[in-house]
Structures are given as C-alpha cells and as structure tokens.
Symmetry: C2
Subunit: 311 residues, 2 copies
C-alpha cells in the first residue's frame, strides 16, 4: 500500500510504510512541537513582561521546520519521537530568539512577522532583547534535561552551541548585515546562508538523530548532507517567495529584502535560474538519503514540503 504525497509532479514522494500523507505527517510533528514547547514555556511567574514576550515569540504561528526535521531524523534512524522532544524544542527556541533579535530596529527593523507585530513592537526593545537572550538560555536548559536514552548530552550541547554562535547562525547574521547594499557572488551568498540558516537546520537533524542514542557516524553524515541542501533550498525558496508571493499570504512585507538592497538568489540569478537551483538542491538533498531506503521517506516528504510551500 502506498499513499501519494501532494506536491509538484517532479517532487512527488511516496511514504511507503506510513500510510499517511505528507501534510498530515508534518502537521502532527508541528503540533507535537508546539505542545512540547508550551510545556517548557510554562511561566515561572518571576518577571511577567519577559515571560509574556518569550511566549509571544515562540507561539507565533511559526512553521516549526526545525523541530519537524529533528523529529523526522530521530524516526529515520529508528528512534521514537519522544527521544527528540528536548532537542526539537531547543532548536525552535534558538530559532525564535534569533527572529526576535533580527527584527530589532538596529538589525532588520521589521515591524511585522507572520502578520503580527514583532516582539519589540509589542513589548518594547528592552524586553525584546531580554526575551531573546532568555530564549537562548532556555534552549540549552531544555537540551540538558535528563532523557531515558543514553544520549551524549555534551555532544548535543556542543552541536547546538556551535551551530548557533560565531561559527554558525550569528556569524551568518553578521555577514548578512554587513552585506546590505554590496555585491555578492553566488558562492558568497550561499556561504552566508549556510551559516545564517543552514547551520541550525543541520544541527536540527543531527540532534534529532543523536537524541535516539543509536545514530551511526555514517547516518549522521548522510543526514547532514541532506540538511545542508534543504537548508539552502529553504532560503532560495524564501527569495523566490519574496518576489512571487503576496504580502497577505507571506505575513510579511513582500519585497522587503529587495527594498533593503540585500543580495538574494533571485536578484543574483534571476527567477528561472533560482527555480533551477531550488530543484537541484532538492534532488541532491534527497539523494543523500539513499542509505536509509524507505526509512528516508519522511525526510523526503519534508524536503518536498519546504520547496513547495507558498509562504
């Protein structure tokens, strides 16, 4: 029995073993992530403004791509979803903090995210800065919580910290800010995105696999190659949506990146070539999963979801 997935014809994938369609599978992981995040964000009642801002930043209708990837990676290596709850929440907390800080006036100066006022518009800049800081701390606190599996917590913390910091996400954001208004080659643009978004996406699958206590080095390598391609594809798709999408669906100001004169894949390559790059990255990404056979269908379905999304 097979169930055909939604998607463009070239990206159709088959979930041979699971008899559920992609969108239902992804929705179930998104929902699980949101439930688990809500548990870990049960407010301690110490600094109410701060806590409300943190909740606001996390429960804002995000797509939970990183937790979805962590969960699917755990299942792909034969683990259970419960293994990956902590790391799925941790990567989303890092992502949420980065959005709060990126939106600040001194950074990208965005007033709207997913159709809602950004955190600093709603709570003020000071609270937004602190909420971001505390979300990062909480990510590491969550990741260090005891698990039933024989996890290597030190390796997991190291993975997340490395991906989030000056050799990963923050470095990419720094390069992105410096890049506004400057010409970039495609390689330079890819390098920036591999840091800014790719590092955390790669960390998400790595952590999901590590959380099961059963991933082999070969499996980790394969998963990371997949995630590197999908992470970059995610950004190419963002740039395409920034040109093709409309503001109502995107929930943010369409053409914002262009108005900031930031280099994008579409400005650099044109729309047609950007679409070709997107497809090539998708194929390279899913190709890296061959060692998993049918167990890779979940991750393949997520890849198709990422490049087919409308917002």
């Amino acid at each position: 029995m097979t169930a055909r997935m939604t998607g463009t014809s070239s990206n159709c994938v088959t979930l041979r073993r699971h008899h559920m369609d992609t969108s239902a599978y992804i929705k179930s992981l998104q929902d699980r992530a949101s439930v688990e995040l809500r548990k870990r964000l049960a407010v301690p009642g110490i600094a109410p403004d701060l806590e409300e801002a943190m909740q606001y930043a996390v429960h804002n209708g995000g797509k939970r791509i990183r937790p979805v990837l962590a969960y699917a990676a755990a299942e792909t290596v034969g683990g259970a979803l419960a293994d990956a709850d902590n790391c799925a929440c941790a990567v989303e907390l890092i992502h949420a903090y980065s959005l709060v800080h990126d939106d600040l006036p001194a950074m990208d100066d965005d007033a709207l995210r997913r159709g809602q006022p950004t955190c600093h518009i709603r709570f003020g800049q000071a609270t937004a800065i602190l909420a971001g800081d505390a979300l990062q701390s909480l990510a590491f606190e969550v990741l260090s919580q005891p698990s039933n599996k024989s996890q290597d917590t030190a390796a997991m913390v190291s993975t997340l910290a490395h991906a989030a910091g000056w050799q990963g996400m923050v470095a990419g954001q720094s390069i992105d800010i410096d890049a506004a208004g400057t010409a970039k080659s495609e390689n330079e643009l890819a390098r920036m995105h591999r840091l800014k978004t790719g590092a955390l996406i790669i960390a998400s699958v790595r952590l999901g696999a590590l959380s099961t206590g059963r991933a082999t080095p070969e499996q980790l390598h394969s998963l990371e190659t997949y995630a590197g391609c999908i992470g970059l594809a995610f950004q190419v798709k963002d740039d395409i949506l920034d040109v093709e999408g409309d503001t109502a669906v995107l929930g943010k100001q369409q053409g914002k990146d262009r108005s900031l004169n930031k280099p994008t894949y579409t400005s650099l390559l044109g729309l047609d070539t950007a679409h070709q790059r997107l497809q090539a990255l998708y194929e390279e990404g899913v190709g890296a999963l061959s060692m998993f056979g049918g167990d890779a269908d979940r991750l393949k379905a997520i890849a198709a979801y990422i490049i087919d999304r409308k917002h």
Copy 2:
C-alpha cells in the same frame, strides 16, 4: 606559618596553608582566566566585525570575579584549577554578554564601561547585539567541551542555563528595567539582585565544584550559601561605591544609578546601614564555609576582596 591578608581589620583572613597573600592569589586566578579566555576566543575568521566585538567585550579589564570564584571553589573541594578552566570561562562569557546587552541604548544606555567606550559605541548596535548573542552561545560550547574528569556535563549546562535565563540573570535584568523610578522594599531589591547578579555568582561556585567530579551535595549547599551572600554583598558594595567612589577610579559615571532613579541600597537604607548590611552578608557568607576548615581560606579571602574593593 601564617600569612596575614590585606583588608580592613574586621575582614582580615588567614591563608594558613598557602603562604601567599590574597591579592597575589586572586591575581593569579584572574590571569589564568584571561589566558584561558583568550584561547577560547581565538578568532575563527568568519565574521571579522563580530569576532572583534566579542574579543573587545571579554578583554576589557574586567575583574573576573566569577572565574575566580569558580577556580577557588574547585580548589576548596580538593580539585585542580585545570578542572575548572571550562566553567570559569563559561561564566565569564555569560557575564560579558550580559554587560554588552545591558549597556545598549534600549537598556541602560551606557557609553562608558571601565573607562572605555561600550561595545555598541565602538562597533554599532547591531554588532553589539550579535556579539552578546554569540558570547552566550560560546559559553555553552565551552562548557560542553570534553574534560578529563568524570563531570556531569548535563548538570553543569543545566546549572548555567538556569542561572542565566528567565529564572535567573535575565529575569533580574527585566525586573531592574521595570523598577526604574519605582519604590522598592529592601526585600524586593534583594530579590532583584539575587536574580540579576546572584544567580550567576552562585552558579560559578557550583560549576567550579562540579567540574572536579568530587563535590558532595553538602559541599555544594555550603558553597551556594556562601555565594548567595557574597553575590548580594557585591551589589551592596557597588551601590556604596556609586555614592562614595569617584568616576576616575570606577571607570564609569559615578552616580549613574541614582541619575536613572533606580532603587539602590544606599538610597533605600542610607550609607551607614548599607555598610552594616555589607558586613553582615560577609560574615554570613564566610560562616557558611565552616565545614571546609582551612580549605575555605581562599573563598574567605575572595569575600574580603569583594567587600573591600575600591572599584
């Protein structure tokens, strides 16, 4: 053979076993921390502005109180200084990031720290925000590095993350910002400081002790009581210096807290009573160390240093 320590007569302590005076001991730990921090801040060469700002924020003439406490706690439970290098660096990285963010215009809006332009004055706000973010990530990366000791890395990461986040330092900073211009009781003021500075100082001694792999629960409890008192004493002393000190020695604008109309121990209690509180906290702190006998002399000396300091 004993060596008398410097300090006010009431705070004189004796380092019975170590034959070195307090200031030389503390200086040796400060220097060790700076050397170890320099190793861990060897720039990766990815985002130069960011990396320079991080270096600037860490190597700014800070007193390294938190690493000093971590090292001394490790020695107090019979461990080696090398055990505590990672955690000593981690607590200082958290402290350094918090200063960078606290100084931002949206927060305390300070242009000067330790006689030098603050990070955002020197590098711009965007880079300062990112440098703070990356310093926090680096703290957890450093803390997760392998050690020769049978450390419980998960417990150490949890300790630091809890102390740094929404139930610790960031909560205190949030309450502090909300408190500007409002009346506070002494208990409320103490609660704010126990979060804002106390939590990380307590974490510093706990981590130093945990890093040795040999601390007992009773030892940890005793050390944390000591650190709670010393952390609060540190803040009372800061408030006293803000009134008594002069700008040239302090390296920051004297009377700044008062000009922001923030509640302080001196404004709340008067200078004389604040001095009495300082002494009482010192005595309670060193009293908590009785189980260690002569092994506690290092931590006692550090307590005296903290309350006798001139800046």
